[in-house]
Symmetry: C2
């Protein structure tokens, strides 16, 4: 341990309180916004309720109004409250924003990754389907260029994970749905590490990326042709391959769309409640 402390500028760090990695004291505004958020979550402040005035809050917390305003700004950005000049600040009835934090949760990082991959698996097929229906020429151009970068990366044995990510984002953009696009962007970012891993190794070891790339190309062709159904199938193929390469076991049935109709595995035991 003991990498150079990012904090240790002054020599007088007295009896070093066993530096816990990065234990900077929270900003005042962060403490305040955290406290308010907790009170809202706990139901202490219910939707529609008015918050105390900034002046009052300042006195209660023992900080200046500037700190309160910054905390309130944070909660506003999170969509938890809204303010009306001359009237006050109110807990919003139904938040108009969603804020997904990565690794802010309690679970392990691996669990988070699994959850995120699961969410991605949910949308990826439909994204491809919509992309096939709505892609513009410039969308196709973008996807093709990322594809090309990946080709070159494979040839040179360098990292093409970024282009990989970009390819999927470009596909999402082709859906012409801003929410989908933003979501996929977010999801993709958190695979960059895993992706980078699979892109490492000598060119001869790049079997993974090569397989992945052929899946990409099939997917691109389907989208390019505007064949929505094929695009969905190709996307699910790719997803299945990716999960395999990453060693993630998916609960979702990605084979549903392949020609295996009427599977109907009879009645499952209804006892499988964990």
């Amino acid at each position: 341990m003991s990498a150079p402390l990012p904090n240790a500028a002054e020599p007088g760090v007295p009896p070093g309180p066993e530096i816990s990695r990065i234990a900077r004291p929270l900003r005042l505004s962060e403490e305040v916004s955290g406290e308010l958020q907790r009170r809202i979550a706990r139901g202490d402040l219910k939707p529609g309720d008015r918050l105390p005035t900034e002046k009052t809050l300042g006195e209660v917390f023992g900080v200046s109004r500037a700190v309160i305003r910054e905390a309130v700004a944070r909660l506003k950005a999170d969509g938890l409250i809204e303010t009306r000049q001359g009237s006050g600040a109110f807990v919003v009835e139904a938040p108009k924003t969603i804020n997904l934090h990565f690794w802010k949760g309690a679970g392990s990082e691996l669990d988070e990754l699994r959850d995120i991959f699961e969410l991605r698996a949910m949308v990826e097929g439909s994204v491809a389907e919509l992309a096939a229906q709505r892609r513009t020429r410039s969308d196709l151009r973008a996807m093709a260029s990322h594809l090309k970068v990946m080709d070159e990366a494979i040839g040179n044995g360098v990292d093409g994970s970024e282009a990989d990510d970009n390819f999927h984002i470009a596909m999402a953009r082709a859906t012409n749905n801003a929410y989908v696009s933003r979501l996929v962007e977010f999801l993709g970012r958190h695979f960059s590490d895993s992706r980078r891993l699979s892109w490492q190794g000598t060119p001869s070891e790049l079997a993974g990326p090569q397989k992945s790339q052929s899946e990409h190309r099939a997917l691109f062709d389907a989208i390019s042709l505007g064949d929505a159904e094929a695009a969905r199938r190709r996307a699910l193929d790719h997803l299945r391959g990716t999960a395999e390469r990453l060693g993630i076991k998916l609960a979702l049935d990605l084979d549903r769309d392949t020609p295996t109709p009427l599977k109907k595995p009879s009645a499952r035991l209804p006892r499988r409640i964990r």
Copy 2:
């Protein structure tokens, strides 16, 4: 149109300046944060870059430092930048949060609703599938109770839209995936208005909710039995019905999973690029 504005509680709405839906002048800090966000999105400010100092920004935009600080607080909350005391504010390399804002965008409210419904359609089937696999007894209890509330609402001809929403949220929770759960919660909230509409009318006119309710029950049964495939089908049935009742035309092919295998509509014209 012209339902009573949710805002019109006060009688003294003066000579109503032809209220343009919601054209309040943006707060200064909102304009500033919007401009900065645009510059980041446009790549004018790249990840890792340092923003101009608050003082400079204040001079450039012609506002006080307080406004700048509020704008920066907003971007911090959105995860786009981070600040270091004594050093400056920096565009973050890979945001660990996503922030989906409803109706903060440019498009019309109807377009936004369509986009959101589309996203919901993407996940709903998979959500049901996962829920069927992972539901606990308490999950089932919750879903059943919301179902019951809706039954009573139909019987009494009152609004059951909230229970409707809660049912879907409870199902999402059963996936045991926090991201999915949060996302569905967000998506569901923005149908409350549309839902409320379909719940209005005399009991005899509640054909919509009644049909919806029977779909709910089928969905619940499948999840309760743990039949993932059936749950998915039921969810898609319900989704199709909802889209119909709402008058939304979906581009996604929700019929894919019903027993109509090998549809393969031959080659589509690849010219359908808008």
